[in-house]
């Protein structure tokens, strides 16, 4: 694909995406006093993450059994409050093991 065709598109995409991220971060210097708004922002990350994880995690590995294994391992280790890296690697390993088992059987 020629750069003269490609470049304007990508720059427009990059600028729009960057402004959405940058403006609220740079413009909001002061502390918000409204208790409701502060509570709202307290819950946002949990709601966002949960919405991004479910049901997407069930389709992240290409097969439902391996995804369920990864989900179960992730829930168990997270409940035990293991580190992010530990949980991520263990869940991937679980998915890998189940997939491997499925191809062997």
């Amino acid at each position: 694909m020629s750069w003269s065709y490609f470049l304007p598109y990508v720059l427009v995409m990059a600028v729009v995406t960057y402004l959405i991220r940058m403006l609220p971060l740079a413009a909001f210097r002061r502390r918000i006093n409204s208790r409701f708004i502060r509570s709202f922002f307290y819950y946002v990350p949990y709601a966002v993450l949960s919405a991004m994880t479910f049901p997407a995690i069930l389709y992240a590995t290409g097969s439902l059994p391996s995804a369920c294994a990864a989900l179960a391992i992730a829930l168990a280790l997270a409940w035990m409050e293991k580190s992010l890296l530990t949980v991520a690697i263990a869940a991937s390993a679980a998915a890998f093991a189940v997939q491997l088992l499925a191809t062997l059987l």
């Binding site: 598109y9 990508v10 729009v16 960057y18 966002v48 949960s50 992010l84 890296l85 991520a88 998915a95």
Partner: protein, 236 residues
């Protein structure tokens, strides 16, 4: 030291990105982009859903306005995240650093930063974005160059890493705090409803996340407002 802590926290994100951007790189190469072009998109945009939608529009020769509007809608959730994170930054995050960091404020980076106790500063945040940013670029490069070489089974297994990490972020606070638990469960239920129910599943995934975040957070803020303190040591 703060940089090292951030860097370590960013590794699982980087690993997850490696596999996601690998797929993106493969698709970009298949759509007729060179390796350099694929990497250029990843290094300037740093957003999975937006790049994927953008790639399709570029290939289709869509009008520039449509490309801009699509990016705006898909990525609008970042405004919410940036706004939320703006309440958590310490004095070391001057306007210049905020403008630099914003470039890499992805869903996952935001989630990890927001999950830290107390305020976060520039050393931690720059450490945090290092592995994800280069993982994203490297994965794109590898995917565009050699997409078909990595066995599917390995790529698929890596694809779950990012979601496992999300679970590792939301579960421990849910264990100790009933209101957070409610927010997590409600949002998961709402998200599943928008994925599976006919009619509701017409909503784009970017919008679905915004709706979940706004509805659930507003409800929980109304029902369980956080205690008013100037310390904010507990705020996420």
């Amino acid at each position: 030291m703060k940089f090292a802590k951030g860097f370590k926290d960013g590794i699982p994100i980087g690993l997850g990105y490696l596999s996601v951007s690998f797929t993106f790189g493969m698709m970009a190469a298949r759509s007729g982009l060179t390796i350099a072009q694929a990497v250029f998109i990843s290094m300037t945009n740093v957003t999975s859903a937006g790049q994927l939608a953008g790639l399709n529009l570029i290939v289709a020769g869509a009008p520039m306005l449509e490309v801009a509007l699509t990016q705006f809608i898909i990525n609008l959730r970042y405004a919410l995240m940036s706004l939320s994170l703006s309440q958590k930054l310490d004095g070391s995050m001057t306007t210049l650093h905020r403008m630099l960091f914003a470039f890499c404020n992805t869903d996952e980076v935001f989630a990890v930063a927001a999950g830290q106790k107390g305020q976060v500063g520039k050393s931690y945040l720059y450490g945090l974005i290092t592995a994800p940013y280069f993982g994203w670029a490297l994965g794109t490069c590898l995917g565009a160059a050699a997409g078909t070489l990595l066995p599917d089974i390995l790529r698929d297994a890596l694809g779950v890493a990012i979601y496992a990490m999300f679970i590792a972020i939301v579960v421990p606070p849910s264990k100790h705090n009933g209101a957070v638990r409610l927010a997590v469960l409600l949002s998961a239920a709402l998200s599943c409803a928008m994925y599976y129910l006919p009619g509701l599943n017409q909503i784009s995934s970017g919008f679905a996340i915004i709706i979940c975040a706004v509805v659930v957070s507003a409800l929980c803020a109304k029902l369980f407002p956080i205690p008013d303190s100037n310390e904010e040591e507990d705020a996420a």
